[in-house]
């Protein structure tokens, strides 16, 4: 089977993978890997009732000598540990305050008895009994150090999550194709991310290899591991032909923090990551203006639409609104309480900025956040146009929530730039926001 790896892109390595038609492998056809003992490492905290489905599917995986499940729990108070015991898991307890994504997984690996490690998460779900075998077949049949796979969203995944997943896989070059990649010819913050991406939703690696590297950092430890591996000359794989079920429906406030932390990480890891110089005071005005623009101009206009409506018509309406943004002035008041598309924590964040930091000035808009949001919306409509012909009431509701989540993610990203490019004195003023946004991600 030939896996096409963006043949036109010089930054990618193209490799022919031996004939392993992965999706067609049935339980009867698979060859037993008698020499392989798998340890599945899962950090947990209040994993919920559905955790059982994951353990059941892991126990049902075929083709290996043994499968050990190692739970690293950081203070569950629900039924997580009793479910784990029921499925004969090895349980390692760590203190909640000691938890980091790297520490929990490293402890799990140190206590694992298998010769291969599968890292996954408490809310993922392998779709078949041969899912792990498919990952192993790629690892064993190719000269690679580790393999990860893409996610397929759960039934309740919202539009925003599907858009960012789709966009991320387009960025990685794994939309509907598998990829094996090594060190790019021109290493930079883009090509290293594209070629070095592993995912802790599902990452299979030999224990020997992993213990030479281990995870490090408190965030994006999977990308960091992938980059270290390719920098050392190894190749890694990211599969689209094999996927794992996983998605989150998180509120706008989470994506504010996520945008913030993501960009702190990128700036920390990549010396060439461009950090725009943004004044915090100006950006607060931009946050408030853009919030009000979405709320009063976009969402109110959307309410007037007769549904169902063709995608292009709503896209055009939004485009027209954005075209005339410079004619609008900074608001004197904003309506946050009546907004049904954002969560209470995000409402409080916006209200605090408005009350404590926003300087009311009667002048025309001169910011950039609206333009960034417009670019994000273009990606959203690209996804929508690939999938839908009409927008009905349900999809429109999702679109409205999606616009606010995109806005919150952009706010987080640009607040990170404000912090990163500020002086020590300015950093002191931003410390409260900095601590709030980087906590708990």
């Amino acid at each position: 089977m030939k896996f096409l790896l963006r043949k036109t892109d010089k930054d990618f390595t193209t490799i022919n993978i031996p004939k392993i038609v992965l999706p067609d492998i049935t339980e009867k056809e698979l060859k037993q890997y008698n020499e392989i003992n798998i340890s599945v490492i899962i950090p947990t905290k209040n994993a919920g009732k559905e955790f059982e489905y994951l353990l059941k599917m892991l126990r049902n995986q075929k083709g290996f000598n043994s499968i050990e499940i190692v739970i690293v729990d950081s203070g569950s108070t629900d039924e997580t540990l009793s479910i784990a015991k029921e499925y004969d898991s090895k349980i390692i307890n760590i203190l909640p305050e000691d938890f980091s994504h790297s520490y929990a997984r490293n402890i799990g690996a140190e206590n694992a008895s298998g010769n291969y490690l599968l890292f996954t998460v408490q809310d993922a779900l392998p779709p078949t009994n041969t899912w792990l075998y498919n990952l192993m077949a790629v690892l064993k049949n190719n000269d690679i150090a580790a393999v990860s796979c893409a996610e397929i969203p759960r039934e309740d995944a919202d539009l925003f999550y599907r858009v960012i997943c789709w966009n991320h896989y387009n960025f990685l070059g794994v939309t509907n194709k598998d990829k094996i990649s090594g060190m790019p010819e021109i290493p930079n913050y883009i090509t290293l991310r594209q070629n070095g991406q592993l995912s802790d939703i599902a990452c299979l690696i030999s224990k020997d290899k992993f213990m030479n590297y281990k995870y490090r950092n408190s965030y994006a430890e999977d990308l960091d591991l992938g980059i270290r591996l390719i920098k050392d000359g190894y190749k890694i794989a990211f599969l689209s032909s094999t996927k794992i079920i996983h998605s989150h429906n998180r509120a706008a406030y989470y994506f504010l923090k996520r945008g913030y932390v993501d960009n702190l990480f990128l700036a920390d890891v990549f010396n060439d990551f461009p950090i725009p110089r943004i004044s915090f005071n100006n950006f607060v005005s931009d946050i408030i203006f853009t919030y009000n623009f979405i709320n009063e101009e976009i969402i109110k206009e959307i309410y007037k639409l007769v549904l169902p409506i063709k995608n292009v018509e709503i896209e055009r309406m939004i485009e027209d609104k954005f075209k005339y943004v410079l004619e609008f002035r900074y608001p004197v008041n904003i309506n946050v309480d009546d907004n049904n598309y954002i969560d209470d924590k995000f409402k409080i964040f916006i209200k605090n900025l408005f009350n404590e930091e926003y300087k009311k000035e009667n002048k025309s808009y001169n910011g950039f956040l609206v333009s960034s949001l417009f670019d994000f919306l273009k990606i959203t409509f690209e996804y929508i146009n690939n999938t839908y012909e009409f927008i009905d009431e349900e999809l429109l509701k999702e679109l409205k929530t999606c616009i606010y989540k995109e806005y919150s993610m952009l706010c987080g990203a640009h607040l990170a730039y404000c912090y990163l490019n500020s002086s020590q004195k300015e950093k002191q003023n931003l410390q409260k926001i900095h601590e709030e946004l980087k906590e708990g991600i």
Binding site: I152, P153, E155, A157, R162, W166, P308, Y383, N386, T387, Y388, E389, F390, D392, E394, L395
Partner: protein, 135 residues
């Protein structure tokens, strides 16, 4: 990718197992980023339909996110529930499938929609059938 689903009857008019199966698989296929449409026979009052093509009435609508094309004969043939041949329906089906241009067709139930399968064969469009129901 675009996937057409063929089924003998569908929501909101009918809502038992086969309809539920077709709805669920269409919805998830759509959530994976594919265009989908359900083509179904229907029994609404004639006034419900928007278009009339020969002996066939047509209504397009969206049911809980899923685009649906529902059709109905103005004069119902005696063999509606078991007949496999209807030249008028074949011509209609050919126009619809050429217009929709699907990459693949998934048949949830072939009753009343079998002429669409013949068109798929003629146009060399792959189709799969999931066996459902007891007819």
């Amino acid at each position: 990718m675009k996937i057409l689903y063929l089924v003998h009857e569908f929501y909101p008019e009918f809502y038992t197992g086969t309809e539920k199966f077709v709805y669920n698989i269409a919805l998830m296929t759509q959530k994976f980023g594919n265009k989908v449409k359900v083509i179904t026979y229907s029994f609404y009052e004639d006034t419900y339909y928007d278009k009339s093509i020969g002996n066939i009435l047509v209504k397009e609508f969206i049911y809980k996110g899923i685009p649906v094309l529902a059709f109905k004969f103005k004069n119902q043939p005696y063999d509606l529930h078991f007949g496999l041949k209807n030249p008028g329906l074949y011509d209609f089906a050919e126009n619809i499938i050429k217009d929709e241009n699907p990459d693949i067709i998934h048949v949830g139930h072939p009753m009343r929609v079998s002429e669409f399968i013949k068109v798929a064969l003629k146009l060399n469009i792959s189709y799969i059938i999931t066996l459902t129901d007891f007819f």
